[in-house]
């Protein structure tokens, strides 16, 4: 296959990706640095330091750090268990984690309203057990739970991938040399699973940082994350320049996480 003219087959996609991937991103920057009349301004971007916006951004960062941390805490032991408990765990794992995604994700998030609300499923169970009820719906813990629920698979899959690829001989050698389980975990498994952990972190962090759906559905519209602010600017206020300005700020975080992912990818290969 060395006829170079055949590479024209990629031309439609190349044109498409420039037109619908690269140029739209340039438009974000263009709208971010101009006002409604098209003259240059940095007002849209510097609007991030207004009280409402900076508060939303900080809140988003806090939420996404917390949800990333909880996902990691839940996913890591899960992956260790999955590599030991089941024999055909790979098929099993993809099944249990991918099946839920076939139900509309908005509906699944919405279902948590039912489970968490005042007279919901959880409080029914707590009442039955004579325990005090839990009122977390429309409060920050409900949003956090929604994030963990929606993004946990993004943490599990890369970690599981890297843990299951660890050479069993290394672990056996460690055990022969007298290491106990925690020494093996600390000295062998953790360092070798680090690339998976890093990609899991970036994969949970970005969607948690930018979501507006979860905070809308489980926060009762009272808690504004940076995603909500941007969404409202675009769809309710039709203030595209202001929305683009804040989107440009989000792009900084995304580019940063892309760089980290790319860096660890490269180290993973070598």
């Amino acid at each position: 296959m060395n006829e170079r003219r055949n590479s024209f087959l990629a031309a439609p996609y190349l044109v498409w990706s420039i037109g619908f991937i690269l140029i739209p991103l340039i438009y974000i920057l263009y709208f971010a640095f101009t006002d409604a009349s098209g003259t240059f301004t940095i007002g849209n971007v510097s609007a991030i330091i207004s009280y409402v916006n900076i508060r939303a951004l900080m809140l988003s960062i806090l939420f996404s750090i917390a949800s990333t941390f909880i996902c990691l805490l839940l996913a890591y032991p899960l992956c260790l268990i999955l590599t030991t408990v089941t024999s055909s765990s790979s098929a099993f794992l993809s099944l249990i984690f991918i099946l839920p995604m076939w139900m509309n994700s908005l509906l699944r998030t919405f279902a948590w309203q039912n489970i968490l609300e005042r007279k919901g499923v959880i409080n029914g169970i707590l009442l039955f057990l004579h325990l005090p009820p839990l009122y977390i719906i429309n409060k920050p813990p409900a949003i956090l739970l929604g994030m963990v629920y929606d993004f946990l698979p993004f943490m599990v899959l890369p970690i599981y991938n890297s843990v299951s690829r660890i050479d069993k001989d290394l672990i056996n050698a460690g055990r022969d040399l007298g290491a106990d389980y925690f020494q093996i975990l600390k000295g062998i498994i953790w360092p070798l699973s680090l690339p998976g952990v890093i990609s899991g972190i970036t994969m949970v962090f970005v969607p948690s940082l930018t979501t507006f759906v979860i905070s809308d559905i489980l926060g009762g519209g009272k808690i504004l994350l940076i995603g909500n602010v941007i969404e409202q600017l675009f769809t309710q206020d039709s203030d595209w320049n202001a929305g683009a300005g804040l989107s440009a700020i989000l792009m900084i975080f995304i580019v940063f996480s892309m760089i980290i992912t790319a860096k660890y990818d490269r180290e993973d290969i070598s």
């Binding site: 060395n2 006829e3 055949n6 590479s7 087959l9 990629a10 439609p12 996609y13 190349l14 498409w16 619908f20 690269l22 991103l25 438009y27 974000i28 709208f31 839940l74 032991p77 899960l78 268990i81 030991t84 408990v85 984690f97 991918i98 099946l99 839920p100 995604m101 076939w102 139900m103 509309n104 994700s105 908005l106 509906l107 699944r108 919405f110 279902a111 039912n114 890369p158 991938n161 690829r165 990609s199 994969m203 970005v206 969607p207 940082l209 930018t210 507006f212 941007i230 969404e231 675009f234 595209w240 683009a244 989107s247 989000l250 995304i254 892309m258 990818d265 490269r266 993973d268 290969i269």
Partner: protein, 279 residues
């Protein structure tokens, strides 16, 4: 003892993952329209569903959109992978670099960027703009599904076909494409799923009077969701379950040579980076 705790932990995670799905399924049989109490078993939402023109219209739009965008993305993506085989490594990694952008970017930024493109080019937003956007975020799934298969492909069969006098196009369709077929199908199925479940990008590129199931659900969240929507998604979920079972676990015969995989966005990134880097 350790294995006991392991199984218990696994069970708890499974309950966590499936509790909302079970809730939705139960609600689809709930006589009472209120979400918070059980009014007895009914099938009325299932029968009423097919007479609800609004929901059925949104359902049709969703399916047509998913099918068209997956089909066009599969054709463009497979052609692009084929073309890239004839390129220098540098050009190829440039294209793959662009391909990774929508995969790693936040959906809200992708959605907003496309919305701005349509606003700036003064296109009125509706089915066509949503279709263009869905094709755009679907092509990377096709490419990341087909490219690895090209790397495993035995080139000598294609060259042998040429030596025996076959036209390149004929040789491609008779020799190369059959080998690629399962990867192409995987790409199509993934695209179809992504399009079906997308809300955020549709939300920013839709126009007035246009609804997919997702946007319809979102607009109903505040005033209360019609239980017929639960019935519809229960049907869709169970349909997919049965289909997946038949595609991947043929109980009677042997496994197909190239297994058709349905993966999620992040899983594609993980598995493509696992195979020695994303170009």
């Amino acid at each position: 003892m350790k294995s006991f705790f392991g199984k218990m932990y696994l069970t708890l995670v499974l309950i966590f993952l499936y509790a909302p799905i079970a809730t939705l399924m139960i609600l689809s049989f709930n006589q009472s329209k209120s979400r918070s109490h059980w009014g007895g078993f009914t099938l009325e939402w299932y029968t009423g569903l097919f007479e609800n023109e609004e929901i059925m219209a949104a359902f049709r739009t969703t399916i047509i959109l998913a099918f068209l965008s997956a089909l066009i993305a599969t054709i463009l993506g497979t052609a692009a992978c084929t073309g890239m085989q004839f390129m220098k490594k540098r050009e190829r990694s440039f294209i793959m670099g662009i391909t990774n952008i929508p995969m790693l970017n936040a959906d809200i930024v992708t959605g907003v960027s496309l919305m701005l493109l349509f606003i700036a080019s003064r296109v009125s937003m509706g089915f066509s703009t949503v279709l263009l956007s869905h094709i755009t975020f679907n092509i990377p799934y096709v490419i990341l599904s087909v490219m690895p298969r090209y790397r495993e492909l035995n080139r000598s069969t294609y060259e042998a076909a040429l030596d025996l006098g076959a036209e390149p196009v004929y040789a491609f369709f008779r020799v190369v494409l059959p080998d690629l077929m399962s990867a192409v199908l995987s790409g199509f199925l993934m695209s179809f799923t992504m399009s079906l479940d997308d809300f955020i990008i549709t939300h920013f590129t839709q126009g007035p009077g246009f609804d997919t199931l997702s946007t319809k659900i979102y607009s109903e969240v505040k005033k209360g969701i019609n239980p017929e929507v639960y019935a519809l998604s229960t049907i869709m979920f169970l349909t997919v379950l049965v289909l997946l079972f038949f595609v991947n676990y043929k109980p009677w015969g042997k496994q197909p040579t190239g297994q058709i995989k349905v993966m999620t966005k992040r899983e594609v990134i993980v598995s493509s980076s696992g195979r020695g880097g994303r170009l």
